[in-house]
């Protein structure tokens, strides 16, 4: 009997070996080669939910690396932690003809901590295998399995994670018991999933992606999730670190999170409660009270990320933050909520995807756990919903900035989860307004003063300068303002932290050799401080729409007093362009010895059709040209 088993195994093995694909690189279709750095020959991802606390992930992948730039994408990276157990890793390397040249297994992998750089501690580790092949193309084939003990956060299937990846064949299979209900959402995939029952009576869902060409980088693209293929799965019943739950909508999920992760974490000792009552007792307006509490929290705490406990999604106890004076975003929001509760102000713990470049909201149509990376606070005053980020020691109360503006968030409340939307900063809010009075003397030196006001998301533009030593501030200003030989005589930075915050910068400066003389002519750059020097690159056959995350307005007015007796040698600058996505005007007027330069640039947020892109490049080019306008003055 034993022999029989061995033989069967051998047969199976041979069968598996027979079934092995041919990884000859020359078999890759020419169609897939443009812009491809690697080609995924075959990828199979299988997730099987055996029960609520036992999910098996099995991934096999064959990647052909076409050149050195693909080495990073060929690297095998498998993450694990306390509740994710690695079962096996094996793999092999094939040369360009598809002949196997080496093999590897788990013991050949390096093991690292996988904590984020910003974290003091996280229970996350990673196994990494880096292939070492110097002849291209080559193919790496690997096969690994891991088991997760939770069903709340199912890995998303992302068959194309990057530009430069072409796909021959990729599939995703989700297997579960017939009565295990899931919600799913497939994006940017043709066709519907194949749903069937396998020989064991299990329900299977299968998605496929074949012959996908490599994407190239296109500037001003929307967030990659909106154009890359992917499948998200959310089981209706789940267990997470031993806690069970059920959800079908954001309301359920928000309620589960509130009840299990937050509700019991907000107790404070009576001394702290008393203190909070004391410092707010003379304030009548609830919003001003909340501001006082927020500022108290800001002054007392700072951000330290330590991810322990329930999957890193449960905040520290408020009392612990009160004692330690630090916490991460969860802990600090939870603590602020507890402080507010002490004076009977109700607030919400809100999950958000923080990102400065894209306003990515939680999806209206698909509730799931892993859509946010940050927590902010919402205080629902009557007719005045106020928002606050609790991780900064300096930002004003009620200010979110570009990190979390204009997007869906999930408020976790005792009544259940609610999708809410954070405030949007429009081009009227995001303003940078500058006025300068400069004199240029006979030697070409420039001197004068300049005042700039920053509002909206621009409010934060000078944060890194504030409270820095003067010498450091000077160094930074010399980098910000491209005037050669720039010396700062005086700097004054003021921040107005009211509900409509603004930053005002006053600078007195001088610089030698700003203008140069030759042959009785006088040359200097008209735009001294706010130049755009590069246009976005042109893109042939663009695929993505043009996305401008945020509108803004820049206004500069510079008045130069120049030595008298000069006239312009070339035509004065006069540019005015208006496009659906923006406006630009730049003008120059010389009256007597007063030269006035005005520049106004506006971008209008929105998503525009891909055909607009060339227009955008031309628009930028016109700005670059205007910004490098060289004044040439000749003696009368």
């Amino acid at each position: 009997m034993r022999i029989f088993i061995v033989i069967t195994c051998l047969l199976l093995f041979f069968k598996a070996a027979d079934a092995q694909e041919n990884y000859d690189a020359s078999l890759i279709s020419k169609e897939l080669m443009p812009y491809a750095t690697v080609v995924i020959r075959n990828s199979e991802t299988t997730i099987e939910v055996k029960d609520l606390s036992n999910v098996n992930y099995h991934i096999t992948k064959a990647i052909t690396v076409l050149n050195k730039n693909g080495d990073d994408m060929a690297r095998l990276i498998v993450e694990y932690d306390k509740i994710t157990e690695l079962k096996s890793i094996k793999g092999a390397i094939y040369n360009s003809f598809g002949k196997q040249i080496s093999k590897f297994s788990k013991s050949d992998c390096e093991d690292y901590s996988n904590a984020h750089d910003f974290s003091l501690f996280e229970d996350a580790r990673v196994k990494v295998y880096t292939p070492s092949v110097t002849e291209y193309p080559y193919t790496i084939v690997y096969d690994y399995e891991y088991r997760s003990k939770q069903t709340l956060d199912i890995d998303k299937w992302e068959p194309v994670e990057h530009t430069g990846i072409a796909v021959e064949k990729s599939s995703f299979t989700f297997i579960c018991k017939p009565d295990f209900n899931i919600n799913y959402k497939a994006s940017n995939l043709a066709g519907k999933p194949l749903i069937s029952t396998d020989t064991h009576g299990l329900k299977t869902y299968t998605w496929q992606l074949n012959n996908q060409k490599a994407a190239k980088h296109e500037p001003f693209s929307p967030y990659h999730d909106s154009f890359l293929p992917g499948v998200q799965i959310a089981p209706q019943n789940f267990t997470y670190y031993g806690i069970n739950g059920t959800y079908n909508n954001w309301e359920d999920l928000g309620k589960w999170e509130y009840n299990n992760l937050i509700a019991s974490r907000q107790n404070l000792d009576s001394e702290t409660i008393q203190h909070i009552k004391e410092i707010t007792k003379d304030i009548a307006d609830p919003k001003q009270k909340a501001k006082k509490v927020y500022e108290y929290m800001q002054n007392k705490t700072h951000y330290i990320s330590v991810q322990v406990g329930i999957g890193g999604i449960q905040p520290f106890l408020a009392a612990d933050v009160d004692k330690q004076n630090y916490g991460d975003c969860k802990a600090l929001v939870n603590y602020t909520q507890a402080l507010l509760k002490a004076i009977d102000i109700n607030s919400y713990y809100c999950i958000v995807q923080a990102d400065n470049d894209y306003t990515i909201g939680l999806q209206n149509d698909f509730p799931s756990l892993n859509q946010g990376n940050h927590i902010i606070l919402c205080i629902p005053f009557k007719n005045d919903t106020t928002w606050a980020d609790c991780t900064s020691q300096t930002i004003p109360f009620g200010y979110l900035g570009s990190f979390t503006d204009d997007r869906n968030v999930l408020a976790c409340t005792p009544e259940g989860g609610k999708l809410m939307h954070t405030p949007k900063y429009t081009l009227k809010d995001n303003v940078k307004r500058r006025k300068a009075n400069f004199a240029i003397d006979n030697e070409g030196a420039i001197s004068g003063n300049m005042t700039t006001v920053f509002k909206g998301v621009d409010y934060e533009y000078r944060d890194e300068l504030i409270n820095e030593p003067r010498t450091e501030q000077n160094k930074m200003l010399q980098k910000i303002y491209p005037i050669n030989n720039l010396l700062i005589d005086k700097l004054d930075l003021q921040q107005d932290k009211s509900f409509n915050p603004s930053t005002t910068e006053n600078i007195t400066l001088h610089a030698r050799d700003y203008a140069s003389f030759s042959d009785g002519k006088y040359y200097f750059l008209l735009n001294p401080v706010n130049r755009i020097e590069e246009t976005p690159k042109e893109v042939r056959n663009r695929i993505n729409d043009v996305y401008i995350a945020r509108g803004y307005t820049e206004e500069d007015e510079v008045t130069y007093t120049i030595p008298s007796g000069f006239r312009p040698e070339k035509e004065p600058l006069m540019v005015s362009i208006e496009k659906p996505f923006g406006k630009f005007t730049a003008t120059m007027v010389l009256i007597g010895n007063q030269l006035t330069y005005k520049r106004k640039l506006q971008f209008i947020e929105g998503t525009y059709s891909k055909d607009t892109y060339q227009d955008l490049v031309d628009f930028y080019q016109a700005i670059v040209d205007a910004d490098e306008y060289n004044v040439v003055l000749t003696k009368n």
Partner: protein, 660 residues
């Protein structure tokens, strides 16, 4: 009984004596609490009030003799920009391949602060909030954040590291990025061990005393006296980094120790570690991960037979071997002067550390009958080496030197794009030491002929519509060729590279392009473009103004500070030439010619030269920017800055073309 008591008494007396140097844990004076600024540097976000370290050798609980390093610091934090000083990481070497590892113990932390009511309070670091993290197979980290931070608080912590590595006797950083009021390091070195101490940086010691401690070390019946040395500094300014400088640690004030020799306390045998170069030579020559790996020609002999087949002269043999191994290996990003996996494994797996790869190269060259040696060096990032006496720990990289005829070539086979005889920039850091197996080692200058150079030859015809049509020929030479190859290879194909340049410069339309010698590493990379450039949208009253520096124009001075403390270190000299020839459309003349200028730095340090040669309706305008040195001292800084200033001034000037 009586005897034991006496010993205990003496011991406690001793501990008391040596403890007297340290300061008491957990005390903050009223004056320290009331400080709102550090008077000597009012812009500091935090200041070290007191810092004390102590190293001694002792028998640990597991019966090994180890170095015990204790660190204790008290820091005043003025505002939240100084809060980083309350988060601590203690890295320890943790080699999982052996049972030798460093350990951290006695971590204690405390914060003293004023509470909401102005009362002074203290809060201690909890043990469970200290996080040990195994970062990778070599390093572990102990991390913690001190509790209770507020503006104006005082944080204090201490810990002890036990290390079995006598050769890594703990160094001491006097200068860091925050100022320090007082910093002191006490070392107790038993007579069995001998170390060289070296001080780096510009600051002077305020305290430097030494005395003999009688019978301070005993182990297994052997005992000896110790040297007890104290190094101290007061009022240490913060270290401020500058652009274009080499490793900051070259300039930061610190003290380092290098093990010279030791006597085995149990056997009495003297073990020489390092003392003079001849000792280092001996040690490295016999080291199984260094010298012995350099005698393995047999391992490479067969492999290189086909590589050098048919090659008659030494230079072409060497080049063939170099190219072969460059292709064979992929560098695994590990540096160091000793082999990590050994040559066998490295050759088999096509992967190795710097030493694995370059030792293979040396062996292969020797197997071909060539004279090749290892050259150890310290990379720019790693800092400079001690030139007074050997500090082997300073070296972190090894390359090959091959002698052919009267010429020597430095070779590094870890990068497949480096041409024969060129070192990567990271290696150009003063001198390297040639470790020859058959003669004494010696220093050699690493920077010899290496230069970065590029030329742009442009020939255009100015059309009536204001468009320039013609060719741009760009040669990248020397190190520039290497950089250019790297840039081109970032793309999947040269077509994609050209598409990228084209799309970056919307005004320039590339009609035809050729790239020469992309894979012939010894030659300059040539790029030839037939282009059409639209410099004008409209032509008004027949006049064109034109900036002849439209390609490679410098508008910003990289040097902004008025003066500088540390040298500007570019690593190598550079040279850029632009030659522009323009044929004017019929009926046009040059109304305003471009500015010409010749400026030179003192002592032939560098220059900017532009010349203008008109001829009928054609003109040639050339300019050269040369920096003849790799390193400029702070004294030369103003000239360097001014040269850039002159270049920018000149490049602002515009030419005017007029219709006759």
């Amino acid at each position: 009984m009586k005897k034991a008591l006496i010993i205990v008494l003496i011991l406690s007396l001793f501990t008391k004596l040596s403890k007297a140097q340290n300061f008491t844990f957990g005390t903050a004076t009223q004056q320290e609490m009331d400080m709102t600024k550090y008077a000597k540097d009012t812009s500091a976000h935090a200041v070290v009030l007191q810092e004390f370290g102590e190293s001694k050798m002792n028998v640990s609980s597991d019966d090994y003799i180890k170095v015990f390093f204790t660190y204790h610091v008290k820091i005043k934090i003025f505002d939240n920009k100084g809060f980083d000083n309350g988060t601590v990481q203690i890295p320890v070497y943790n080699n999982s391949n052996t049972d030798l590892y460093e350990d951290v113990s006695n971590i204690k932390g405390i914060t003293t602060y004023k509470d909401d009511n102005g009362l002074t309070r203290q809060i201690e670091l909890e043990d469970k909030k200290i996080y040990p993290v195994k970062e990778n197979k070599h390093w572990a980290n102990y991390k913690f954040a001190l509790p209770g931070l507020r503006n104006g608080c005082i944080v204090e912590y201490q810990y002890t590291i036990e290390s079995p590595y006598w050769e890594n006797f703990h160094s001491w950083q006097f200068q860091t990025d925050i100022p320090k009021i007082s910093s002191e390091y006490d070392v107790h070195i038993p007579g069995f061990w001998n170390y060289n101490a070296s001080i780096r940086g510009f600051l002077k010691l305020d305290k430097n005393t030494s005395e003999i401690e009688k019978e301070c070390f005993s182990s297994g019946g052997a005992h000896c006296d110790c040297s007890f040395i104290t190094y101290g500094m007061h009022n240490i300014p913060a270290f401020i980094e500058e652009d274009a400088m080499t490793a900051p640690k070259n300039y930061r004030s610190a003290i380092n120790f290098e093990l010279v020799d030791y006597m085995n306390p149990y056997t009495g045998a003297k073990v020489r570690y390092t003392k003079e170069w001849k000792d280092v030579d001996y040690q490295l020559k016999t080291d199984s991960y260094f010298g012995r790996q350099l005698k393995r020609e047999s391992l490479l002999k067969d492999r290189i037979i086909p590589v050098i087949a048919g090659k008659t002269d030494d230079l072409s043999k060497a080049k063939a071997i170099y190219a072969y191994l460059q292709k064979w290996f992929k560098w695994n990003e590990y540096s160091g002067i000793s082999c990590v996996d050994g040559l066998n494994k490295a050759l088999d797996s096509h992967s190795g550390s710097v030493a694995d790869i370059n030792f293979s190269l040396i062996n292969a060259l020797k197997a071909a009958g060539l004279k090749a040696d290892a050259v150890i060096l310290s990379t720019r990032e790693n800092g400079s080496i001690n030139s007074l006496y050997p500090v082997i720990g300073d070296f972190n990289y090894v390359v090959a030197k091959v002698d052919i005829g009267t010429d020597s070539y430095f070779l590094d086979a870890t990068d497949p794009l480096l041409p024969f005889g060129m070192l990567p920039l990271k290696c150009l850091n003063g001198q390297g030491r040639v470790m020859s197996l058959d003669k004494p080692s010696y220093f050699v200058d690493l920077i010899t002929k290496q230069k970065q150079k590029s030329t742009y030859s442009m020939e255009f015809t100015l059309q009536e519509d204001g468009k320039l049509k013609g060719t741009i020929i760009n040669y990248s030479i020397g190190y520039d060729a290497y950089l250019k190859r790297k840039a081109i290879k970032k793309f999947n194909s040269t077509d994609e590279y050209i598409e990228a340049i084209n799309s970056r410069l919307p005004k320039l339309k590339i009609l035809k392009s050729t790239i020469n010698a992309l894979d012939s590493l010894d030659q300059p990379v040539g790029e030839i473009y037939e282009v059409e450039i639209s410099l004008y949208d409209k032509v008004s009253n027949g006049n064109f103004t034109f900036n002849p520096f439209f390609l490679n124009k410098i508008t910003e001075n990289p040097f902004k500070m008025t003066d500088r403390l540390y040298p500007v270190d570019w690593g190598m000299a550079s040279d850029q030439r632009n030659i522009l020839t323009i044929h004017l459309a019929k009926g046009y003349i040059v109304a305003t010619p471009p500015q010409t200028l010749n400026v030179e730095m003192p002592n032939n340090g560098g220059r900017f030269l532009s010349t203008y040669d008109p001829l009928d309706n054609t003109f040639t305008f050339s300019n050269i920017i040369q920096f003849n040195k790799g390193i400029y001292s702070p004294d030369e800084y103003p000239y360097l800055k001014e040269l850039y200033n002159k270049i920018i001034q000149t490049e602002k000037g515009e030419m005017v073309f007029k219709k006759k």
